[in-house]
Amino acid sequence: MTQLVVQGLRLEYPAARGGAPFLALSDVDLAVEKGEFVTIVGPSGCGKSTMLMLIAALLRPTRGAVSLNGQPVAAPGPDRALVFQDFALLPWRNVLKNVELGLEMQGVAAAKRTDIARKNIDMVGLRAFERHYPHQLSGGMRQRVGIARALSVDPEVLLMDEPFGALDAQIRQVMGSELLHIWERDRKTILFVTHDIDEAIYLADRIVVMSASPGRVVQQIKVDLPRPRGLSIRTSAKFNEYRETLWNLLEEQVRQSGSWARGEGGA
């Protein structure tokens, strides 16, 4: 069943003083199935974050529309939850209070809030840390909090913008496989932006490749690797084929844009 539809999406950022408006996305079309894990890759600055913000309705499209279960999305809501690259935890709140944030916005009663938050903190393995403040946690632990916070509102779609981008390679792999574990429990729809080619393949049912700025969808690749996937799958021949395909596609996009900005090679 198709759950999330992005249709003819276009976004112009308003002109800076004296300049012309900046076209960040031009005519993006995308349909996502319920329960699908979609990863999004593309050159730096091609509008991946912009697209997630539009789906979250933190930005209004210049043209086109986003709909969820056939309903147009107009405002941020608990049916879509964001996980940020910079974690965006509130430093004056401990882990428990951070995870409760989304529930507070929805007016959930205090006792129930704590219950739900604890359950999700458990799920990401931070039970012993619920009274810790963000500055007392490692990067990986902070993003677990970010994930628990997003899952707490029980969203239909999880929007993840380079969630592991700030973590070093090893933690990143561990976090990826833990995310798959969590996802396999209830199969929430996930849109996951990444710069890391291996990560894009390892996680995805489908990879969306975007063009250089202004962003469009140039190619979609279905990933036919068996699940559940262990870390060793990265060394398989099939994985290698995907890696090569994706690498070539991205290289072409990056060459067209003339910039090799942020190590899109990833692996």
Binding site: A75, P78, A81, P134, H135
Partner: protein, 251 residues
């Protein structure tokens, strides 16, 4: 002995030596004890003012003036700083007044304040308020300006509104700045109370200092003076402890 204990012991020792030297000089006539006074005379004056109830009355008067003046400055300073930080137009409109109050030697206004507000409580509280509220307002404003947009984005993404932004992000994020402003404001409010009492009141520790000095009762001058010093140190220590507690979340 730990570093901390060492510094405490040596500090107290140095202080005790100074007092002892003073007393010895006064007794040997090296300094004139009537003009300069001496520790033993000051101790006697303390006992006298305590027994008569004068000290307690002065202390109570000054403490209430301080609490009211600083309390009002805290409320007004945070409210005005927030309003300025959240709304550009409020900032432009209020900014000149804030800097006027900050830059002018406020005590020059005391004759006017006396004409407007009368001699005593209202004038003293107003001087304390005016002296302390700007540092609180300006620091609050700086706190609002320093709010991390990514924290706002998190609240908006989870469906928060304007109210949530103010109470769940802007205000808590500004707490370190507000406390820094309050710390400065505390000192300035105490100054304001003393100055206000010296120039515009017939009560309180500040007034007693001028009155005893005019009567050349040097030992008696030291009683409200020392009380004020102790008060200042105590307020500073307490605010330091409160700050440490409120800012546990900081790295």
């Amino acid at each position: 002995m730990s570093e901390r204990a060492q510094s405490l012991v040596l500090g107290v020792l140095g202080f005790a030596l100074l007092i002892a030297a003073w007393e010895i000089c006064a007794r040997n006539g090296l300094v004139n004890p009537v003009v300069v006074s001496s520790p033993s005379r000051i101790a006697a004056a303390f006992a006298r003012q305590w027994a008569s109830g004068d000290l307690a009355t002065d202390l109570a008067t000054s403490a209430v003036e301080f609490a009211v003046g600083f309390g009002a400055a805290m409320v007004a300073g945070v409210a005005i700083g927030l309003a300025m930080g959240l709304n550009r137009f409020v900032e432009y409109a209020v900014d000149p007044f804030v800097w006027f109050v900050y830059a002018s030697p406020l005590i020059a206004f005391y004759p006017l304040l006396i004409v407007w507000l009368g001699f005593g409580f209202a004038t003293v509280v107003t001087v304390a308020f005016l002296l302390s509220f700007v540092s609180i307002a300006v620091n609050t404003l700086a706190g609002v300006h320093a709010v991390d947009p990514s924290h706002m984005r998190a609240v908006l993404a989870f469906g928060g509104g304007k109210r949530d932004l103010v109470f769940k992000v802007v205000l808590p994020a500004s707490v370190p700045h507000i406390l820094a402003g309050a710390r400065i404001g505390l000192g300035r409010a105490l100054h304001g109370v003393v100055l206000g009492e010296m120039f515009g009141s017939n009560d309180g520790l500040g007034y007693s200092i001028t009155r005893y000095a005019a009567q050349l009762k040097t030992a008696d001058v030291f009683v409200p003076l020392i009380t004020l010093v102790v008060l200042g140190v105590a307020i500073n220590q307490a605010s330091g402890l409160l700050e440490a507690r409120l800012l546990r979340w900081r790295a």
